[in-house]
């Protein structure tokens, strides 16, 4: 069992939890993920690591309570325990010295993005950071990101906060020379960013939280075509150069379990915590 040590609501329906897992904390790096399973009947859900505290021996991760598991997790509190937490999994993000780096995070993903940004900054990079969201309501870690950015932007799809959409990035890219870019967010956001950076041939690393089951290379559910080759996000990624990713296929693969996920989520809402267990 792994105890939830702290829980914070970062924005409506977006939470950050710190979970006691000293061995995992000691070995985690930015860009890696953990897989959690809430209880004996739970599914395995990958969550990207948003930070660690070596002294407390905790791993932090943020989640948006939209699916069955994350909704259940949102109802748990500090002091409660989850059955399984496995990690760190996946390869660490590249955080070398590149020069000027563009970072774009979408919604809840700004939390793990900060963990990557911190490491990039520590290694002497100049950071231009964009915190994006669908609306002003799903922005997290704005202040924290702003504090470590050399230049900081906010954008929302509906224009309720900051720039409306990511279109402004076209100008940013035109007027500044970047050496490296990192995007973390929903696949739609990743694709938008890559579409903008592609004309400059700018290496744009995207983190692919595809459908994973085991997270250790066993199932291949997370396969994705990168530069014409099938890769496993869990083994070869989760970070890939977005310029090489087949986004069309990725979007279609991510839809595979939508009907079941909607159903499970609905059951959760109706029955308040899950179906009868017996």
């Amino acid at each position: 069992m792994y105890k939830i040590v702290t829980k914070k609501e970062l924005a409506p329906n977006i939470y950050l939890i710190e979970v006691a897992a000293a061995d995992v904390a000691a070995k985690s790096n930015p860009g890696q993920f953990v897989i959690i399973r809430l209880d004996e009947k739970g599914e395995r859900v990958p969550l990207t690591i948003a930070g660690v505290d070596f002294e407390k021996g905790t791993v932090a991760t943020a989640f948006h309570a939209v699916g069955r598991t994350t909704k259940k997790l949102a109802k748990m509190n500090a002091g409660d325990s989850i059955t399984d937490l496995s990690g760190p999994l996946g390869n660490p993000a590249e955080v070398g010295k590149f020069g000027r780096v563009l970072l774009v995070g979408g919604g809840v993903w700004c939390a793990p993005l900060r963990y990557v940004a911190q490491a990039l900054r520590k290694n002497g990079n100049k950071l231009v950071v964009v915190a994006a969201g669908r609306t002003e309501n799903d922005m997290v870690y704005e202040n924290e990101l702003k504090a470590i950015a050399d230049e900081f932007h906010v954008a929302s799809d509906d224009g309720s906060k900051g720039h409306e959409g990511l279109g402004f990035l076209a100008d940013v890219l035109k007027t500044q020379k970047f050496d490296y870019a990192v995007a973390m967010g929903q696949v739609s956001l990743l694709k938008k960013v890559v579409d903008l950076t592609r004309p400059y041939g700018l290496k744009t690393m995207v983190t692919l939280a595809s459908l994973m089951v085991d997270g250790t290379g066993m199932c291949g559910a997370c396969r994705v075509t990168v530069a014409g080759e099938t890769k496993f996000a869990c083994m070869d990624g989760p970070e890939f150069n977005g310029l090489d990713v087949d986004f069309e296929e990725l979007v279609s693969r991510q839809r595979v379990y939508l009907p079941e996920e909607r159903m499970a989520s609905m059951i959760h809402d109706k029955l308040g915590g899950g179906v009868k267990r017996g």
């Binding site: 009947k41 739970g42 496995s86 250790t216 290379g217 066993m218 099938t230 996920e261 499970a264 267990r277």
Partner: protein
């Protein structure tokens, strides 16, 4: 018992086919006490038993059968466990027909003795009546051993080493120990409760089982040595699924058998939404491959409600690598065999879901390196199969994580770890390996045999190491 009676085995009851295709309960029902004793009666109790020579873990077969014959079922189970720590598993999934039973003298004139069924009976009896753990003797010299992977090889090595007095820590990357016994083999062939009860036995022997530890990510092998382990056994299996590398393979509805079976078995997807992990199955399912994994995938598909399930295999019936019993069970359940066919591409609908599979007909040519006749495509024989789910079961290769993260560990071009066959020693001092990670995908019992061999050499290695200090 007269000669004629001795020729015929006591059959084991199976769940009726019309019932079992709708449930995940065990197909084979096991012997009753009377049946077991009657079957045991057939054993000739050879003074030089050949059956034992066919067993990779050297179970004292005539001795445990004698106990059953005399009605000492608990004693029979203990006899088996002297050598085999996973008897309920072996009794169910070992290919006895190619091993112990193939050597049985009775087989020359009739049916060999049903060693697997008797082993299953004895261990099931003990489980129902409360498992007891033997008192372990304290050893003079002991060490600390890490076992990486909790499948059949790891469980066997762990049990043998803990019995020799060593401190044993077993690391498993998934949330439950058992490896392929948990994620691969379906409930209706090997109930998961039984696997967990065997794991419990090994824990009770004193093995510390750490789940959720993916070695190669959290610690690598050298870090384990730095943590104070004297020797390490790698039994990380063949977990990486092979794909066919044909167009359309990444469409929705195309699964690796590993993904499909993990969702169904380990995550209990067949009980969705009571369990949280979904599994989507269509009406027409094609399973590509002809091994046990293919049979398991096909039979699971049927139980999940598929209307038509095909086994698509590129060679003929004769070359089918599955256990004969499993292929027969599959056929009995209505799985349709499309032999000498090989897929060439998958076609999707507008939403990215598979809707068809193009195949080409094959014929058998000259024998290849494996000694089997090589399948050759018949030009121009392509045809379409209407399918809405495809499961690729053409084999697995070892997960490369440990090989990639361990310096000095030699591997083959197939990604398997190089070992000395007699000892299980790898090219790295103190590191031993066995099971599918060495042999490539093979059987549970051969992995157990390798675990046993490695345990013996690791014990000697530790004694030598401690003596040198």
């Amino acid at each position: 018992m007269d000669k004629e009676q001795r020729k015929h085995e006591i059959p084991m009851a199976k769940q009726d086919v019309l019932d079992r295709i709708h449930n995940f309960y065990e197909v084979a029902l096991g012997y009753t006490e009377e049946q077991a004793m009657a079957e045991a009666e057939r054993c000739l109790q050879c003074p030089n038993p050949r059956c034992v020579t066919g067993c990779p873990v050297e179970v004292p077969i005539p001795q445990f059968i004698k106990e059953i014959k005399e009605g000492n079922f608990l004693a029979a189970s203990k006899k088996v466990k002297e050598k085999n720590s996973l008897p309920a598993v072996c009794g169910r999934v070992c290919p006895q027909e190619n091993q112990c039973q193939q050597m049985c003298v009775l087989g020359k004139m009739g049916d060999p003795i049903s060693i697997g069924r008797l082993e299953r009976f004895a261990s099931d009896f003990e489980r129902r009546n409360g498992v007891t753990v033997p008192e372990l003797e304290k050893a003079a010299v002991t060490g600390k051993v890490a076992i990486v992977g909790s499948g059949p090889a790891g469980l066997t090595a762990a049990a043998d080493l803990v019995k020799l007095g060593h401190e044993v820590v077993m690391f498993e990357s998934l949330h439950l120990a058992g490896g392929v016994l948990m994620y691969g083999i379906p409930e209706f062939r090997l109930p998961k409760e039984i696997v967990q009860s065997e794991v419990q036995y090994i824990k009770k022997l004193g093995v510390d089982v750490k789940t959720n530890y993916t070695i190669g990510r959290i610690y690598n092998i050298d870090e384990l040595f730095a943590e104070g382990f004297d020797a390490i056994f790698v039994g990380s299996g063949a977990g990486l699924p092979n794909f066919m590398r044909i167009p359309g393979e990444n469409l929705g509805g195309v699964y690796s058998a590993n993904e499909f079976l993990i969702r169904v078995n380990l995550m209990k997807g067949y009980l969705f939404p009571e369990y949280d992990t979904p599994i989507r199955i269509g009406k027409k399912v094609a399973v590509i491959g002809g091994g046990n994994v293919a049979m398991d995938s096909a039979r699971c598909s049927l139980r999940l409600g598929a209307e038509e399930v095909y086994i698509v295999y590129r060679r003929s019936r004769e070359e089918l690598p599955a256990r004969a019993e499993e292929a027969e069970n599959a056929e009995e359940e209505g799985i349709i065999f499309r032999l000498l066919n090989n897929p060439t591409k998958f076609v999707g609908d507008e939403s990215g879901w598979v809707k068809g599979m193009e195949c080409i007909k094959m014929e058998l040519g000259a024998p290849d390196a494996s000694g089997r006749r090589r399948p050759v495509p018949i030009e121009g024989s392509e045809f379409m199969m209407d399918v809405d789910t495809a499961i690729i079961a053409i084999g697995q290769t070892p997960n490369p994580l440990i090989q990639r993260t361990t310096e000095g560990l030699e591997t083959t071009r197939h990604g398997t770890i190089v070992t000395q066959e007699e000892t299980g020693a790898t090219t790295k001092d103190g590191v031993y390996a066995g099971g599918d990670v060495v042999s490539g995908a093979a059987t549970v019992i051969s992995a157990m045999g390798a675990g046993k061999t490695a345990a013996k050499s690791m014990h000697e290695y530790i004694l030598k190491k401690k003596a040198a200090k």
